[in-house]
């Protein structure tokens, strides 16, 4: 499957439009202000994004969405990454919307309509240990009368403390099943954790939580039919966000190299720093290709997109980490201060590295697809 790896005119326009909006509404100082106020979410900002069609970026037009596709979702995520915009975009508009889209029944369609309208937010509860592995699930959903009884604990549920609903992966008799639950249901206790990136992530305990057959997304025992596409969409968009993050940290660093003076000259005159900056630029550029490719394949041949998505997430993880490490080092002491924004980039890069599979997880996937 060969795809065109050039940004289409409407994608360039979308990026410009997103950039213009986010520079104004959500620069890094916005995240800083939220953190200083002890908050992780700005409902007014999300409402504005929903009005612009971002909440419904993957929702069909019949359900009130803008249905722009995965490459477009990546464009938005990439622009968000540049200024570390915090929003339920990935959890709700990308991951939950993609899962619900696989189902396509009346209930799922109603949920999609509420996502597009910005009326509901979701979080994905998969992890039960410190490393992502959707097959390593011990949480149980035991059959109980006509329904299920869920017991277990999830960790690193991104956006989980504030989300209205939870997509929960649990073990059923013959396999894994994905549930769409009210986050306020009896037996759900949410423990918001103080995360290094100042965003929402929770540990959630489920104690005899009741679910009905209608709460199951897709088929019982076949969670992956619905979850796999949702994870891929989320991984690709997260990779796009991290590429944006890398580009943002890189731009700050290059600006600094041009203005900071030592030994009587701009430090950007020193070849030792020039070559490090140039290498970093190359890595950002190469990573952008992997992002574009993943979005194209998710749109045109989703069944063939798995390797492209893992390649994008692996490469973006590596590049974002390089960008923030080089960013702090080339800034020197000021890069270590909380007053300067680079630290925010570093912390988000670490969180993004772990979410939905780290470098090792995705490089391993690539290797398997490449036959080793």
């Amino acid at each position: 499957m060969s795809v065109k790896l050039v940004q289409a005119e409407e994608e360039v326009m979308l990026a410009d439009m997103a950039r213009g909006f986010l520079d104004d509404a959500a620069p890094v100082s916005h995240l800083r202000a939220l953190r200083d106020a002890g908050e992780t979410h700005d409902p007014a900002l999300w409402a504005e994004m929903a009005r612009m069609g971002w909440a419904g970026v993957l929702v069909p037009e019949a359900q009130g969405g803008s249905d722009m596709g995965y490459a477009a979702a990546n464009v938005i995520a990439q622009e968000m990454g540049k200024t570390l915009v915090t929003s339920p975009f990935l959890s709700t508009a990308v991951i939950a919307a993609t899962a619900l889209r696989q189902v396509g029944d009346d209930r799922a369609n109603a949920a999609l309509a509420r996502i597009a309208g910005g009326e509901v937010t979701y979080a994905l509860a998969v992890d039960e240990s410190a490393k992502f592995d959707p097959n390593k699930v011990e949480m149980t959903a035991e059959a109980d009368g006509n329904g299920f009884r869920l017991n277990g604990t999830k960790q690193f549920v991104v956006d989980g403390a504030l989300a209205d609903r939870l997509l929960v992966l649990a073990r059923t008799a013959e396999g894994l099943t994905l549930f769409d639950l009210d986050a306020g249901a009896a037996g759900v206790s949410r423990d918001a954790r103080a995360m290094i990136d100042a965003r929402d992530a929770a540990r959630i305990t489920f104690e005899d939580v009741e679910a009905t057959g209608a709460d199951v997304l897709g088929q019982v025992d076949h969670a992956m039919d619905v979850l796999r596409p949702a994870l891929q969409a989320g991984q690709a968009a997260l990779a796009a966000e991290m590429t944006g993050l890398a580009a943002g940290a890189f731009a700050m660093t290059v600006d600094y190299l041009k203005e900071r003076k030592q030994f009587g000259v701009e430090i950007g005159r020193f070849q030792a720093l020039q070559h490090r900056a140039a290498h970093l630029w190359c890595e950002v550029e190469v990573t952008s290709s992997a992002i574009l490719n993943a979005g194209r394949l998710l749109d045109s041949a989703p069944e063939d997109a798995a390797m492209a998505v893992s390649l994008a997430k692996a490469k973006a993880t590596q590049t974002a980490q390089l960008a923030v490490q080089e960013g702090v080092q080339m800034h020197g002491g000021i890069g270590m201060t909380d007053a300067y924004d680079m630290g925010f980039y570093m912390k988000r890069a670490r969180v993004g590295a772990e979410w939905l599979g780290d470098y090792s997880y995705h490089a391993e996937q690539v290797a398997r697809y490449r036959g080793f």
Binding site: H275, A277, A278, C282, V286, T287, L292, R370
Partner: protein, 383 residues
């Protein structure tokens, strides 16, 4: 459009099935298996000759060149399909040469119609083999300081000087060379791009033995060589423009060469053949990393080609392709040597190829020169 492409693919498949000899379908791309062409070329097999002749007849040695100059006039979409179909059956390149990679693109861009008609078809047919005369003992990374001098003698120049690292000069029929034609002008503004017959009196060449045991590079000496005034590409003293344009091409070519190594096979598959296999966790982890980087690099090459077709030239950003492509190729060969263990220490293709890759990040501008180009011209950092 899509239907036309499907037809093109189908026709091409049929044609390959009929004309690509079985022996030419092993994806080989080593020094021993390349067909370079030229007046003195000796085919390594009948199959190699048949494959070249079949491709020449269709213009497939230079598929994107216009038909009148010996190509097949393929557009970008067709070329992609062509590359895919060639890769699918693992067909060898029918012909490779500096004429195809470098002089051809330079002539297509800067040459007159007469020059194109005169020089390009023999390149496409593999009849004339070219070499490149750029570097000199005193002009390596600082290429614009070449001193080989062409003295104006009316209807010709009289060229004197020495070139080094002239690849396969001992086997080439002609050389394209950077020659200083004005010593008073600033160094970039006094160079001309001249075409010189290697059989002319006064041209001598001597191979240099390298660490790989091979001698792909030569020293080439010019002593009072007469070069007619029409054997120039571009304007007098504007050879640097041609050279810069060509260096961009060369960078793209070298960066792509990593993909061609071992027929573009996944690194894991190559490594699994060694005694160490992929049970060595350290080796496997390094291979995974290299594979990720190589795949992303391949997509970047594709993206830059797609951008070029959409009219967005890469310009100085091509330095990135050259820098990362060659560094990755070196990594790949280091891993192959690790996987081979002591088996790979006995002289053969693997160690020779491994040693050869060390030149990738030097020839055509070192990695450090590439990084400097990016930092100044792309990032705008002060010189």
């Amino acid at each position: 459009m899509t239907d036309t492409m499907t037809d093109f693919r189908k026709d091409l498949r049929d044609w390959l099935e009929a004309y690509c000899p079985a022996e030419m379908r092993d994806g080989a791309a080593s020094e021993e298996t390349i067909c370079w062409g030229g007046k003195d070329w000796v085919f390594s097999s009948d199959a190699q000759r048949e494959w070249l002749n079949a491709c020449v007849a269709e213009g497939y040695t230079v598929p994107t060149w216009p038909k009148e100059y010996g190509g097949a006039g393929l557009n970008r979409d067709q070329q992609k399909i062509f590359d895919e179909e060639i890769a699918r059956i693992g067909a060898r390149f029918p012909l490779q040469s500096f004429g195809i990679w470098m002089l051809g693109p330079a002539l297509l861009h800067f040459g007159t119609h007469e020059q194109k008609l005169h020089y390009l078809p023999p390149i496409a047919r593999g009849e004339v083999r070219w070499c490149q005369g750029y570097s000199e003992p005193g002009a390596g990374s600082d290429l614009a300081s070449v001193q080989t001098f062409g003295a104006d003698a009316g209807d010709h120049w009289v060229v004197n000087g020495q070139k080094i690292w002239t690849s396969y000069a001992d086997k080439a029929d002609w050389i394209f060379a950077l020659v200083r034609t004005d010593r008073e002008a600033p160094k970039h503004k006094g160079i001309s791009f001249l075409l010189i017959d290697m059989n002319d009196p006064g041209v001598e060449t001597r191979p240099i033995k390298l660490i790989s045991g091979a001698s792909p590079f030569c020293e080439t000496f010019f002593t009072d060589v007469k070069v007619p005034k029409e054997q120039i590409v571009g304007d007098v003293n504007r050879g640097w423009d041609v050279a810069k344009y060509l260096l961009t091409h060369e960078r793209e070519m070298i960066s792509g060469s990593g993909m061609l190594q071992a027929g573009g096979r996944p690194l894991g598959a190559v490594l699994a053949e060694g005694d160490a296999g992929l049970e060595d966790a350290t080796l496997r982890a390094a291979a995974m990393r290299c594979e990720v980087d190589q795949l992303a690099m391949g997509l970047t090459l594709e993206r830059y080609r797609d951008m070029a077709e959409a009219g967005q030239g890469a310009g100085d950003a091509s330095a990135m392709l050259k820098y990362l492509g060659t560094e990755l190729n070196k990594q790949r060969h280091e891993l192959m040597m690790m996987a081979g263990g002591s088996d790979a220490l006995e002289w053969g293709d693997r160690p020779a190829d491994w040693l050869r890759t060390k030149a990738n990040s030097i020839e055509g501008g070192t990695s450090e020169v590439m990084l400097s180009i990016i930092s100044r011209r792309v990032l705008g950092l002060p010189a």
